[in-house]
């Protein structure tokens, strides 16, 4: 029956050991402080006894207290108390340092890991849960450092007590020490009962965080559709489940604590009962029994401190498992050693690329969905290639592949004949920039959003803004380049955000520029101006541009038409228009529509006239 529980305690101790190794010094301080505290707690009673015998009693008997007697009395008691307090301060402060330092370390580790793990991992792990991993789970793991030093420090009391007991009477001591197997048993039962409950509570905590995070991100849509009640119900559902889970945890803990508290008393009573019997048989002195009974009650306190630590252990294990799952997650991109050349337009090529997404069904089972089939695209140095295709045809996936945001399952992506998987960490962003279809703004200034911490002068920033046709509105912002754009750029209009994202790419003067429908939110006039600017600014750049509008398309030296994840055709605009039906349908859709409308209107007019 103990198969699960014992290893779990051992695991908990191992985890605690990992934590101690992170902060050995602070932890040692905390234990030292705690030891001082333990010794001084025992000393307090002893000191009072001593001064009562040596100072107070003589004074009372003499009917007169000398100031020497009074000072000695005061000094002994106050001294011991002072040391005791010093011990407590050291213990608590050092325990705080240990706990928060270790927690901060693991928060860094976890969040680093978030930055390392691939996008596909992020797709599978709700952001809100990740917040919970970095906060609540790390906290749950290391909370044990609050009671731990105390428990270790008072072990001194424990050992001293046991030794004295054995010295007094070994047989009685054995009876007294049955307390420990009892404690062990209680703890085992407790660990078994507690672990699954804590795991559940911690998971629900993460789910509450998940729902909250998603719901707050969706706030505008929720409001626009008047679904506040529905969201509240969704949140209530998980919250109530968390409530129930926490109550279950509390019930278990609430059973364990009184039991732990009662065990020493039970030991004392056992000693008294057996002792009295022994004394009445004449096998033992009454004083010995009294002493052993007293010693057990002295042990009650360290035992309780131990109980606090044991009570925290299941949380430690569960928290650690959740944190460790993140730390152990595999699939982070491996990097090579190669550096890409730094100058001149890049020559990029996708050859025979396959790519599948893992799609999850309602049951949570994963299956691959092949979004890209054997795609080959060549981007000669300095060329502009347009990627055209209907909604959901795989354009964004291809742009992601071309910058190694994801790795292909088959085939290869190369820049200047170097397989991207061999490029060193950070090598690709140095030469290639992407303006994604959906802009992401950091909670930072306009300048910060463009430079992203890179070493660019304000002149360069203005230059990039000019190409992106953003000079005008940035100048009008309250604090110009220093204006904070709010979280996710909330204080900018859609088109403004998109132009800042463009400037972010342009300023890097990349050798390969990938534009994924990067002008979808700007008006036609601005779009025209941006394209003209880009033409000038990107002379040393290879450009891959996802586009629908003919003006953009016709900038391209070559057009690649994709549908259903396959390249159906490529060539010049005129060639494709002539021979590729899907392409023609797509790019002439607006013109045909306009013509049809005009015809209908002409008809109507003809009729009315």
């Amino acid at each position: 029956m103990s198969v699960d529980a014992a290893p779990s305690l051992r695991r908990a101790l191992r985890i605690v050991g990992v934590g101690i190794r992170r902060q050995p010094r602070w932890f040692a301080f905390a234990v030292a402080g705690s030891t001082v505290y333990g010794v001084m707690t025992v000393m307090t009673a002893w000191a009072i006894g001593k001064v009562t015998r040596e100072q107070v009693q003589p004074a009372v008997e003499a009917g007169h207290a000398t100031s020497a007697q009074l000072w000695t009395t005061f000094a002994w008691v106050a001294g011991v108390v002072l040391l005791n307090v010093v011990g407590v301060v050291i213990r608590r402060v050092a325990a705080g340092y240990t706990m928060f330092n270790v927690a901060a370390h693991y928060r860094r580790e976890v969040t680093r890991q978030y930055l390392r793990l691939p996008l596909s991992w992020h797709h599978r792990h709700p952001s809100g849960q990740l917040l919970s991993n970095a906060n609540a789970d790390v906290e749950a793991t290391w909370n044990v450092f609050a009671p731990l030093p105390m428990a270790i420090g008072v072990v001194v009391m424990l050992v001293a007590g046991i030794v004295q007991m054995v010295l007094v009477d070994p047989v009685m001591a054995v009876i007294g020490l049955t307390v420990f197997p009892l404690l062990f048993l209680a703890n085992m039962v407790f660990q078994r009962a507690m672990s699954p409950r804590i795991a559940r509570a911690q998971q629900l905590r993460a789910e509450v965080s998940e729902v909250a995070h998603e719901s707050f991100e969706a706030a505008l849509v929720v409001k626009a559709m008047g679904r506040e009640e529905q969201e509240a119900e969704r949140f209530e559902e998980v919250t109530r489940r968390l409530q129930a889970a926490n109550v279950e945890v509390g019930r278990t803990r609430g059973t364990f604590d009184p039991v732990i508290e009662a065990i020493p008393t039970l030991g004392t009573l056992a000693v008294l009962a057996v002792g009295t019997y022994q004394v009445s048989r004449g096998a033992l002195e009454p004083a010995a029994v009294v002493q052993v009974a007293y010693l057990i009650s002295v042990l009650a306190f360290p035992v309780r401190a131990l109980g606090w630590v044991l009570g925290e252990m299941p949380r430690t294990v569960v928290g650690w498992d959740r944190v460790d799952a993140v730390l152990k997650a595999r699939g982070a991109l491996e990097f090579g050693e190669t550096s890409l050349p730094a100058d001149d337009a890049a020559h990029a090529a996708l050859t025979g690329v396959d790519y599948s997404y893992d799609v999850v069904d309602e049951q949570g089972d994963e299956s691959p969905f092949q979004a890209i089939h054997d795609v080959t695209i060549d981007l000669p140095a300095g060329a502009t290639v347009a990627l055209v295709g209907p909604t959901g045809s795989g354009k964004t996936t291809l742009t992601n592949l071309s910058l190694r945001l994801v790795d292909p399952d088959g085939g290869a992506v190369r820049i200047d004949d170097v397989d991207l998987r061999e490029v060193r960490r950070g090598g690709i962003p140095e030469v290639a920039s992407l303006v994604p279809q959906q802009t992401f703004m950091f909670d930072d200034s306009v300048r910060g959003n463009i430079t992203l911490g890179g070493d660019f002068s304000d002149d360069e920033v203005w230059g990039a803004l000019a190409t992106a046709q953003a000079t005008g509105f940035v100048t009008e912002l309250g604090d110009s380049l220093g204006t904070h754009v709010g979280e996710r750029g909330a204080s900018l209009s859609g088109g403004q955000r998109q132009r800042i994202a463009l400037a972010r790419a342009i300023i890097r003067a990349p050798r390969l520029l990938v534009l994924d429908d990067a002008t979808s939110a700007v008006d036609p006039a601005v779009e025209q101006a941006i394209l003209a600017g880009l033409r000038k600014a990107t002379s040393g750049t290879t450009v891959l541009v996802v586009a629908y509008r003919m003006s953009t398309i016709t900038l391209a030296d070559e057009i690649v038409y994709v549908e259903g994840g396959r390249v159906l055709d490529h060539g010049s605009h005129d060639e494709l228009l002539a021979r590729c039906e899907g392409y023609a349908r797509l790019v002439t859709a607006y013109a045909r529509e306009a013509a049809e409308r005009a015809a209908v209107e002409a008809d109507e007019e003809g009729v009315t006239v």
Binding site: G96, E139, A219, R253, E487, S551
Partner: protein
């Protein structure tokens, strides 16, 4: 001006407690029973050692030698006492857990609900991660105190009173000495409470910052990778982690100082009592035995005092959490639902009127000036204009996501501010420029538009929009999981879902803000046709940069730098030479030619 979310409420400790208890009535429910049970437990904790003492004194060391019979009886008595203590302790624990978890769940719900009631602009004054901390870890912080602290505090106060009375029976003078020693402590504690409270408040704010930083890094994962700014992002997160660590340690140190001052005073009191007691005993005012008994009582007094100082720290921690939650709950919802006092609009085509509407974002320049606009029922309007000219702002005013600074917006002749939200949201639906899908199936996402729609109705909606073919191509059809924020779909597909969702809601006024900007032209044209047929009979307003939308509309409204500069059918506007619309259209036409 819209309200700003307070980082923390500025209520004092007591007011915070009061407000906190009012927000979670469960915390007080059944408290008397729990208190009574807790008192029994406390008495038990004192009685058990006493009985053990008696066993030794009378049974073992009795005058006539050990008395096994008596010992057995006493031991049994003690066992009963242990059992009662344990049982009541268990009952107290469970009751406290139940009450506190119920109370805290309620608090979470109230805060969550209120966040959604806040106006859009108010919501934007705080980062999402930080909001999450208000309904998660801030509430968790409170739990420690409400589970045990509160009740122990009350019991401690009781014990202090009892101990004082007992002490006074032995020696009023020494009792006065004890209290004199503790008076300075009370002053110190009061001061420290404030310091500790502030320190904990900073910790809570840092947690909010931390979560906001983490949130940004996971939501922006793709951009961070594309630009290789992992290390910069890591630095930003590290700063937040470090700020939190430093704040937590500061708070810890302060609370340790506060706690140990209690301990120190308790110890010193013991020393002082011993000294003064010695003088008194030497002077014959009390016996040595009385002095020793008094010392025991002093312990009975100082122990709850120490416990109380500890719990006061815990209280400050809880108050810090409460202040954050109350900070959000007490932020006024300035775009408020008139509720029952409001007007319920009858169904049917809607007319819209803007009367001299002016608007400026908080702290910004005006973005809309004197907008006067009437939109007839059943008309299909396109709003066009340069980026940043104020189109989305107009749409948000029209759907009452914000209230105008000047003038009024009326639908069917009623000021929007007087229309009940339930009625408004049912009849007017906006597909915002920044759409959002939930991490659920396609079906559930579309059903978000009308929760009671059946699967068939959802399917029908997609068919009517001409999206059935697209649906067939999806790996699991309507059961396809769209992933977080819908990221398992392509950008265009996400817009299709958002559109279907609004369509399913079946509003009388449909406002589309760039709802098809990422959809390919031929799908867009098809959708437009479908919508045209379907929106006949209702009013629709479409904001678009692609002028195909304008060409198809009954009327075009041209916005330029916050003013309406032109309006009329496409045909007429293009002919107004040198006009904004003519310029836009020329660019558009040029684009089509390439």
């Amino acid at each position: 001006m819209s309200a700003t979310i307070e980082k923390t409420s500025s209520l004092g400790t007591l007011d915070t407690l009061k407000r906190g208890l009012a927000l979670s009535p469960e915390l007080r429910r059944g408290l008397w029973v729990t208190l009574a049970l807790a008192a029994v437990t406390t008495v038990g904790r004192i009685v058990v050692p006493f009985v053990v003492q008696q066993t030794t004194d009378h049974g073992l060391l009795g005058a006539g030698g050990p008395d096994p019979g008596l010992v057995v009886r006493y031991v049994l008595l003690a066992l009963v006492a242990v059992a009662v203590t344990a049982l009541t302790a268990y009952a107290v624990n469970v009751r406290l857990y139940r009450a506190s978890e119920a109370g805290l769940a309620t608090l979470r719900l109230k805060a969550f609900r209120h966040i959604h009631d806040l106006s859009m602009l108010t919501q934007n004054t705080e980062r999402r991660g930080s909001m999450v901390s208000r309904v998660t870890s801030d509430v968790d912080t409170i739990s420690m105190f409400v589970q045990f602290g509160g009740i122990i505090l009350i019991l401690s106060l009781g014990q202090i009173v009892v101990a004082t009375v007992l002490m006074a029976v032995y020696s009023p003078l020494l009792t006065a000495v004890v209290w004199l020693c503790f008076v300075p402590l009370l002053v110190v504690i009061r001061r420290f409470q404030r310091i500790v409270g502030r320190a904990y408040t900073v910790v809570r704010e840092r947690v909010g910052d931390l979560l906001a930083a983490v949130s940004e890094s996971v939501v922006g994962a793709a951009t961070i990778r594309a630009y290789g700014v992992e290390s910069r992002t890591a630095e930003r997160i590290d700063d937040a982690i470090e700020a939190h660590r430093a704040a937590a340690i500061r708070a810890q140190v302060r609370s340790v100082v506060a706690f140990s001052s209690g301990q120190l005073v308790a110890g010193l009191t013991l020393a002082v009592v011993l000294v003064v007691g010695t003088v008194l005993a030497a002077g014959g005012h009390m016996t040595l035995g009385e002095l020793l008994a008094f010392l025991f009582l002093v312990n009975l007094f100082t122990q709850p005092v120490q416990q109380a100082t500890e719990i006061l720290n815990e209280l400050q921690n809880a108050v810090a959490g409460w202040r954050r939650v109350i900070g959000i709950v007490d932020t006024p919802a300035d775009v408020a639902d008139p509720g029952d006092a409001g007007v319920t609009l009858p169904r049917g085509p809607i007319s819209v009127t803007f009367e001299d509407v002016g608007f400026a974002y908080p702290g910004g320049e005006p973005v809309l000036h004197d907008v006067d606009l009437t939109i007839e029922p059943r008309s299909r309007i396109a709003i066009v204009g340069e980026t940043g000219s104020g189109k989305s702002t107009l749409a948000k005013l029209l759907t009452r996501l914000m209230d105008p600074r000047d003038g009024r917006v009326l639908i069917d002749g009623t000021d929007l501010r007087d229309v009940r939200f339930s009625s408004l949201r049912e009849r007017v639906v906006l597909v915002p420029q920044e759409g959002f899908l939930f991490d659920e199936t396609l079906l559930e996402n579309i059903r978000f538009g009308r929760p009671d729609a059946t699967d068939e109705e959802v399917e029908l909606a997609l068919t009517e929009l001409g999206l059935d073919q697209w649906l067939e191509g999806l790996p699991q059809g309507l059961r396809t999981e769209v992933g977080q924020r819908g990221e398992s779909l392509s950008a265009g597909e996400r817009q299709l879902v958002a559109l279907a969702r609004a369509y399913l809601a079946d509003p009388d006024l449909l406002v589309l803000d760039e709802a098809t900007s990422a959809v390919d032209p031929s799908t867009e044209v098809r959708l437009q046709r479908a919508l045209e047929g379907l929106t006949r009979g209702r009013t629709s307003i479409a904001i678009a940069h692609r002028l195909s939308t304008a060409e198809a509309a009954d009327e075009v409204v041209v916005v330029d730098r916050g003013r309406i500069v032109q309006r009329g059918p496409h045909r007429e506007l293009v002919q107004q030479e040198g006009s904004v619309y003519a310029g836009l259209h020329a660019s558009w036409a040029a684009q089509q030619r390439g």
